[in-house]
């Protein structure tokens, strides 16, 4: 029931977000067709605006965007203008005028999803063992080293890690391509560049969680029962200790899956991360709204999934 309600709640929330994006992007100065060269004549400028309905009132544009606009057809009858958000149509990109927003997302999203998914696995793969190890060996030189390393991962931004990786492993060693997309080899360096930061965060979260779990009553009870140290750590402490990571993994996945502007730029990867930033700079109204929606839906759904995972992992959590 609880999850059903949450799911239903997503619909108005998404609509609200789309509406805000629609109006906010139009507040910024300039428009999609402000270019270095002025068109030949005001007639051309007007025609361009009319083509994309930017000459209409905001209210009319909004209705058209939702797909709730009725118009008189050439034959005199009234009818709904086809397309619109409610019909699942995000419209044409105003900057890349030969493509629809859906086209561009369809093209770039699988790439960003792949890269993001790999980076997610990578960061989990390094973060959880690091956090686990440092929590179990708390206060030792190993803990100090591991924690310091996690901090380093956290502090070095992708636009430094990326070029350094390229320099070392692509340009000098020649093991990996310097950029583009196509084979699994192309994904390795961007995956590391993207995942290292999150790896650092996850290591710290795991360490926190595990440390707390190891000090809790049920672990003491398990030990008292005579459970083996291995069983105590993995079976009793770990599922609870990893909780912070689970709750963090929702927003983190949403971040990773929608592409990273920095990493996609450095490795010239044809994902959608670049569009995330450039569409608002170029006032590509339709694209901005489309991408905001995509990000919002991903974030909401993943958060919901995290809550599901929560209730399954932690016996103390229940949703009514």
């Amino acid at each position: 029931m609880y999850f059903l309600r949450r799911l239903l709640f997503l619909v108005p929330l998404t609509l609200l977000i789309a509406t805000m994006a629609f109006f906010l992007v139009r507040v910024a100065p300039g428009g999609p067709f402000d270019r270095e060269r002025r068109p030949a004549s005001p007639a051309v400028e007007r025609a361009l605006a009319a083509k994309y309905h930017l000459d209409e009132s905001l209210a009319s544009q909004y209705l058209r965007f939702l797909g709730l606009k009725w118009e008189r057809r050439p034959d005199g009858t009234w009818g709904r203008v086809p397309g619109g958000l409610l019909a699942g149509d995000l419209g044409l990109s105003l900057k890349y005028r030969d493509h629809s927003v859906a086209d561009i997302i369809r093209q770039g999203l699988p790439v960003s999803l792949t890269l993001g998914g790999m980076a997610f696995l990578f960061s989990m793969g390094i973060g959880i063992p690091m956090g686990f190890f440092t929590a179990v060996r708390r206060g030792t030189a190993g803990d100090w080293l591991g924690s310091a390393l996690a901090l380093v991962f956290l502090c070095i931004p992708g636009f430094v890690v990326g070029p350094v990786l390229i320099l070392l492993f692509a340009l000098q060693a020649g093991w990996f391509p310097v950029g583009l997309w196509g084979t699994p080899m192309h994904a390795v360096l961007p995956m590391v560049a993207l995942g290292l930061y999150f790896g650092g965060r996850i290591a710290r979260l795991t360490r926190e969680g595990m440390t707390q779990a190891l000090q809790s009553e049920f672990v003491r009870t398990a030990r008292a029962k005579g459970a083996s140290e291995f069983r105590v750590l993995l079976h009793h402490a770990f599922p609870i200790g990893v909780m912070p990571v689970v709750s963090y993994s929702g927003p983190m996945l949403a971040d990773l899956l929608t592409g990273s502007f920095v990493v996609e730029n450095i490795f010239q990867i044809p994902g959608i991360g670049v569009f995330m930033v450039n569409s608002s700079l170029s006032r590509d109204y339709t694209m901005v709204v489309g991408l905001v929606l995509l990000y919002a839906v991903l974030l909401l759904v993943l958060n919901l999934l995290v809550d599901v995972a929560y209730s399954l992992l932690d016996p103390r959590v229940r949703y009514e």
């Binding site: 361009l48 005028r97 030969d98 310097v178 997309w181 399954l312 932690d314």
Partner: protein, 565 residues
Amino acid sequence: MGWARDLGIRFFVLCLGLCLAGALTGCRPDRRADLVIHNGAEPETIDPQVLTGQADGRVGSALFEGLTRYDPANGRAIPGLASSWDVSPDGRRYTFHLRTNAAFSTGEPITSDDVVWSWRRAVNPLTAADYSGFFYYVKGGEALATGASTNLASLGVRAIDPHTVEVDLVNPTPFFPDLCGMRVMSVVPRRTIEQFGDQWVRATPLPCSGPYELVYWRPNDRIRMRRNPHYWDAPHVACEVVDVLSGDSPSAALNLFLTGDVDVLIDKVVIPSELNDVLKERPDFHRYDYLGTYFFRFNVTRKPFDDPRVRRAINLVVDRKRLVERITRLGERPATALTPPGTGGYTPPPGLGFEALQATNEAAYAAALRTNVAEAQRLMAEAGFPGGKGFPPFTYMFNAGGGGGARMHENIGVELQSMLREHLGLQVELRPVEWKTYMSEMSLLNFDTIRGSWVGDYQDPTTFLDCFLSGNGNNRTGWKNARYDGLLASAAAESDPARRTELLREAETLLVRDEVPIVPLFNYKGLYAYDPTRWEGIHPNLTDEHPFWAIRRRGAAPSPRASEP
């Protein structure tokens, strides 16, 4: 509850597994193209008549051709779909003879009707072609493009027979063949456009009139093209498959070039400007002059910039040599005029500060600058601002982050700021704004002074000088001068080339010496990269035209020279 926890862990593992599965799909290796060109920005559109950007244009002219095309060596017009043309004695009527073997990539022949239809489409305001201004030279073009007339048949272009097109011009236009090679004048496929409307370039198959046809287009990744088998000059299209990459990061482009994933970096924008000093010394990086001028605009509708003495004074204290030597560093030529030298054989008049740049050594240059500064201070005093007293603080606006990694625009702003403070006692505040704001503030005349630049479209001074006609959309200074407009109008109607040049020089003198609504700073240098031991067919030229059909691997095939009619 143990089962629930197990289930939870399994669920978690399942999620991870799904991610991995995602990672293994979606990888699509491609066969490497014969020629890989890094083109910079992702094309906004490849409709040749609608496109505006330079990157778009390179793709547009690979896919679509007009009556003429450009010589890769010097960028001037050579026969394209038309094999030859005749000019009437008064220079106002051109008769183009189309090739009998001209065809779209789908095999349909290209005839005079296609030319007429394409031109009418471009000039129609409903097509919303920004560049329809090039039809102003054709009779009836201006009335159509501005919407004053809607009778498309009134455009001065006629199909005499399937292979003869006659064009009536308003004025004798010596550079008209150059205009016929512009993208907006390309021949486009009527039937496809009528069927698909604005989205026609996404039709498959896409009938192309140029040397290449479209294979696929992945936004923000690459456009793959293949030699158009029906192109009239297909045997001389050197590379069979060409990939045009797009990407915003110059360092990524450079990396791809260094590892051989990219053969040609076709544009300066894909070369990291912070490495200019190092790269310009390499044998595979090539610099050349092109039709571009960097300048800044005054808003002459705002006090005190409405006073030409103030504008002249500010112009005089700018040390242009310092800007090109310390900031741009590609060997740019300091400029005092708007039109770069050599534009269609034209020599621009000396602008303000020209004499200083003639100095042959450092000492003479410094002395000349001091003379200029003294003159500038005199002008300021005359205008009522001795030593800058009473002069309101003002802003210099530029697009932030522009000009590449070296932040050229910002650094130039800093230099200008200090020159004006030091010599004239003026307080300049730098105002970096993002690109769209910059464009809209400039159009709305919402600035005091603002960075500007202009790149010429064809090899004639009017491609620069027309911008500053009263009411031209690209003027953006608020400057209006009836004498300037009159001189350009007389030049347009003049059929004697020497007299025409004289009139143009007189107009430009007014612009850059007397009235100075703009302060020219330098002429751009172009920069592209390819390994000359492996590739040939790319030549430096003023209009920056490097047609893909001419680029070939050394020793691969017979020389792809443009076949003469």
